[in-house]
């Protein structure tokens, strides 16, 4: 069995749609906490989008379990391999943790987690202002951590695409590479 050099189509679709959604969520999040005029509109968007990201992240993990991602280039230094592995674990953890912490903190504050129309999610924590205050801070800290990780991810992806040209970027690129990446090493 030879692993495919590209992520499968569901993985690529999930990656790029979630990239757009997560970036939008981070921007909506920082905008809404400082906004008076748009606060309600942004919060009303933030809650259903967060739950959508939670669902997509679970789908993505399930797809990843069934279809292993293509291996990293053989010549990638060990520290970069470790960084790539750790940052992906952290990205997945945050994709799941951000919506769950959001849902949990709203539950502790007894805000209805309204999604769309009359659809309201049930609370997942008992009512507790102290818990709410703690989770509310955690939500902010994790959001900044996620933004930082996304910057690092974006920087590394561009480094692979523009400088190393080692096939890592094209394995996730939404388009099919015009030619095989010249420096892509055969699997050792």
């Amino acid at each position: 069995m030879t692993p495919s050099p590209r992520f499968n189509l569901p993985a690529r679709l999930l990656h790029w749609s979630m990239a757009a959604l997560i970036l939008a969520m981070l921007l909506i999040g920082v905008a809404m906490v400082t906004s008076l005029a748009d606060y309600h509109a942004l919060v009303s968007l933030h809650r259903p989008l967060g739950i959508l990201i939670l669902v997509l992240a679970l789908l993505r993990l399930a797809n990843r379990r069934r279809h292993a991602p293509p291996p990293l280039p053989a010549d990638l230094p060990m520290w970069q391999r470790r960084a790539a592995h750790a940052s992906h674990v952290a990205l997945y953890a945050l994709m799941l943790a951000m919506p769950l912490v959001g849902w949990a903190m709203l539950s502790a504050a007894r805000y209805p987690v309204a999604l769309a129309g009359p659809l309201v999610l049930p609370p997942i924590l008992p009512q507790s202002p102290v818990l709410y205050a703690g989770l509310r801070s955690v939500h902010t800290v994790l959001a900044y951590a996620l933004f930082g990780l996304i910057l690092a991810h974006l920087g590394a992806a561009l480094l692979h695409a523009l400088i190393r040209q080692d096939g890592v970027f094209s394995s996730m690129a939404p388009w099919r590479p015009r030619r095989a990446a010249p420096t892509l090493r055969p699997e050792g």
């Binding site: 921007l27 805000y111 309204a114 129309g117 009359p118 102290v130 910057l151 974006l154 400088i163 190393r164």
Partner: protein, 370 residues
């Protein structure tokens, strides 16, 4: 440059200027993304009015009172139920207006202002906040006040007014020059202040009329969309506050009277929706609507008991006026989103603070055997 090629893993054939250019392009993308994030997050516009600054101003005007609401700090929890008349069913698809539907309600009667230990006073604005618990997790939360119109039209004016109306330490009254300056800049607030001052102050919480002030929209199943202003109108005929009432009695005379009445019997209000017509101001809470507007009596609120603020009851609820069930929607009033944002900020701050008991402890029922 081969060192840089080695460091970045660039192929040896990539010339140094091309490598540097590509590194610069990557740096620019990352810097641009960070700047976009900072811009949207308001870091590049430090002068903008934010929820945090609104609540900072409450703290500046009232002093620190950790654990308490930054506004309407002194209050008493109440519970009861709302029985729909059915008159609202044609106007709104919200289930709580269906004929015969009885919805449990928890709420809070409070005095405006950020001083949790202030003595009850005749002129202080009284408020009624309610949380209707609908089936399937939907809720309607509302905060209403016993004034005919709201004193300001915009969040920015609200922010200015907080400081302009701050009582002077020496006189206990706002600095007249500052207040007049504010009214000169906001003639709509001067008109509203005159209407508020001219209102009849009733004997207590029980015979006050509480108004939403902001407009909302009732959305019917057939899509009909009606601008409304809500009011809770007491069933009991209002009696004016007596002159002696306020001066002689205890610091909590309004709350104590309410708790005593609720121990005797339920208190009832009618939820009356005033139906706006095209042209009625929905985005200006300082303006009254014409007095001849049609109204609909949506049902009866019966408050059946009171409890002092305690963990898990009204103390820990944010009566955010934009927690609405399907069938009630916000109007274009800019104050609504601002109230939602500021309430949330106040709630988040107090949620993390140590609590001290409310001044309204609630006298024990007469007769311990009860």
């Amino acid at each position: 440059m081969s060192l840089l090629n080695d460091l970045t893993g660039a192929p040896p054939g990539l010339p140094p200027h091309a490598l540097l250019l590509r590194l610069a392009a990557i740096g620019a993308v990352l810097a641009g993304t960070t700047c976009g994030f900072a811009y949207v997050g308001g870091w590049l516009s430090p002068g903008a009015l934010t929820p945090a600054r609104v609540i900072d101003r409450f703290e500046q005007v009232n002093g620190p009172h950790p654990g308490f609401r930054r506004n309407h700090a002194k209050g008493l929890c109440v519970e009861g139920r709302f029985a729909a008349s059915g008159a609202g069913a044609a106007l709104s698809k919200a289930g709580l207006f269906a004929a015969g539907r009885v919805t449990p309600v928890a709420g809070r009667l409070a005095l405006a202002g950020g001083q949790p230990y202030a003595a009850d006073a005749e002129a202080t604005v009284r408020s009624l906040a309610l949380r209707f618990t609908l089936p399937d997790g939907e809720e309607w939360r509302t905060g209403m006040n016993d004034i005919p119109v709201f004193p300001v039209r915009t969040p920015e004016a609200f922010y200015e007014q907080l400081l302009a109306a701050k009582p002077d330490l020496a006189t206990g009254k706002p600095d007249p020059a500052r207040l007049n300056g504010f009214f000169a800049a906001h003639p709509e607030s001067a008109k509203a202040a005159a209407l508020i001052k001219a209102r009849t102050v009733t004997a207590g919480f029980a015979d006050s009329t509480y108004r939403s002030l902001n407009a909302f929209r009732l959305v019917a199943a057939d899509g009909r969309d009606t601008p409304v202003r809500f009011a809770f109108v007491p069933e009991r005929a209002p009696s004016p506050e007596t002159a002696g009432q306020a001066v002689q009695q205890d610091k909590n005379y309004l709350f104590d009277a309410l708790a005593a009445e609720l121990r005797q019997d339920a208190l009832r209000w009618h939820l009356v929706a005033t139906l706006g017509r095209p042209g009625d101001p929905t985005a200006d809470a300082t303006q009254p609507w014409p007095a001849d507007r049609e109204t609909a009596d949506l049902g009866t609120l019966a408050l059946t008991g009171s409890t002092p603020e305690a963990p898990g009851n009204c103390r820990d609820v944010n009566f955010d006026p934009l927690v609405l069930p399907l069938g009630i929607a916000p109007s274009d009033d800019p104050l609504l989103s601002a109230r939602s944002a500021a309430y949330s900020q106040s709630f988040t701050r107090r949620a993390g603070e140590d609590k001290t008991p409310s001044a309204v402890a609630g006298a024990p029922p007469h007769g311990a055997a009860l």
